[in-house]
Symmetry: C2
Subunit: 216 residues, 2 copies
DNA sequence: GTCTATAGCAGGATAGAC
DNA sequence: GTCTATCCTGCTATAGAC
């Protein structure tokens, strides 16, 4: 639609499919919708991808995973400046990489939306998501945080904590309209940085962190 | 299927519709699937509910909301024993009400699944969810926790913290298979109580809470 | 590689018998 | 209230012209 439409049909299909799948889910999007958004004909999906499900999987393989790698790279670069990053640096790096990385707002909503959908309703794509991105990222993060943790027995709790951070990132970005509804408050352009600050504070000190910090 | 099938067709439709919608989402479930699971005929949905979307909304009005009220009641009862519950009591009450309340495992997955789906892809039902449940619950929780918060300026952070707690509850229950995949570990029957403990600790002290508590 | 045309089927909804 | 039979739309997928 508002895209500068590359002349490659296959690429246009992937772009539009990603957008539509992330917004409505696999079942709610028709091939007709995709092909007409990509400004091509109905048969194009089957020619280039065989069938609808394979197009969906290709979206993950060819667009979602590469962008996730960018996020991972951003995360590493974000920390590379510091010699001995502490836990709060790492947490901020995660949240920032996801929410204020190299992506545009639309790309980011796409990325998080597809991930959230797969978590909520796994298809074959879930193994791609877990194997190529989630598990490696968990290892990256563990490596960075673990020095601050003494005992090996804490490993499970560290992992659960990483999941907690991810859950907040996914939730705040995706449930943004609902957060607005409940709080009776519009969220402006600074929403993301406020959310990042919240996630970092909450992760570092829990709900008690705010009282203390604010009264300093 | 495995249900003791009440003789009321309308009720059976609601039960099966809720199960299927929560598992696959609105678009992925067909009316035929619902009516055959409810062991009735294709026309029944249109006779009792007019159309498919209205059945979906009725699931929220007649099954989801009442159960959410039960959760709310459980939450209040859980706290009524204590005269001056502290924040950690309140957090445990929330997590326990959602994850170990009066519902069976299936009902609970249903409940959380439908909510997660609405958050991820709002339909008309989202206003029911927010107006009848989310916002009132937020007020309940705020009333309980706020005494520990001094300044009014902290109200927004308190609200965001409540959302953080909810995000973890939704995420850990719903993404359970993914958590297992990433951790390379099966989760037994104690999963829920471990998750509750994690959420309470994390909420109270953030990621740092574990180090301290464990070394005592 | 791109497109039109269409097969073949599953979907939601309805009419009307009982 | 319940059911069967059916309408018709929209779907995925394919065949075959260009």
């Amino acid at each position: 639609m508002t895209h500068p439409a590359p002349d490659n049909t296959r690429e246009r299909l992937l772009i539009q499919a990603e957008l539509l799948f992330s917004r409505k889910g696999f079942a709610a999007v028709s091939v007709r919708e995709i092909t007409s958004a990509a400004d091509t004909n109905l048969a194009a999906v089957n020619y280039h991808f065989g069938n609808k499900m394979n197009l969906y999987l290709s979206v993950f393989k060819e667009r979602w995973v590469p962008r996730a790698q960018e996020i991972r790279k951003f995360f590493k670069n974000f920390l590379s400046g510091k010699n001995h990053p502490d836990t709060s640096d790492v947490v901020r790096a995660i949240a920032t990489a996801f929410l204020e990385g190299t992506m545009t707002d639309d790309e980011q909503r796409c990325q998080i939306g597809l991930m959230q959908r797969e978590l909520a309703h796994p298809t074959e794509a879930i193994s791609i998501v877990v194997d190529e991105v989630l598990r490696p990222m968990h290892h990256d993060i563990q490596k960075q945080i673990r020095p601050s943790f003494s005992k090996k027995a804490d490993l499970e709790q560290l992992t659960l904590s990483i999941f907690s951070i991810i859950s907040m990132i996914l939730y705040f970005e995706f449930a943004r309209p609902v957060v607005s509804l409940v709080m009776n408050q519009e969220f402006d352009s600074q929403y993301k940085s406020r959310v990042i600050d919240h996630i970092v504070s909450f992760t570092m000190n829990g709900i008690n962190g705010f009282k203390e910090e604010k009264t300093i």
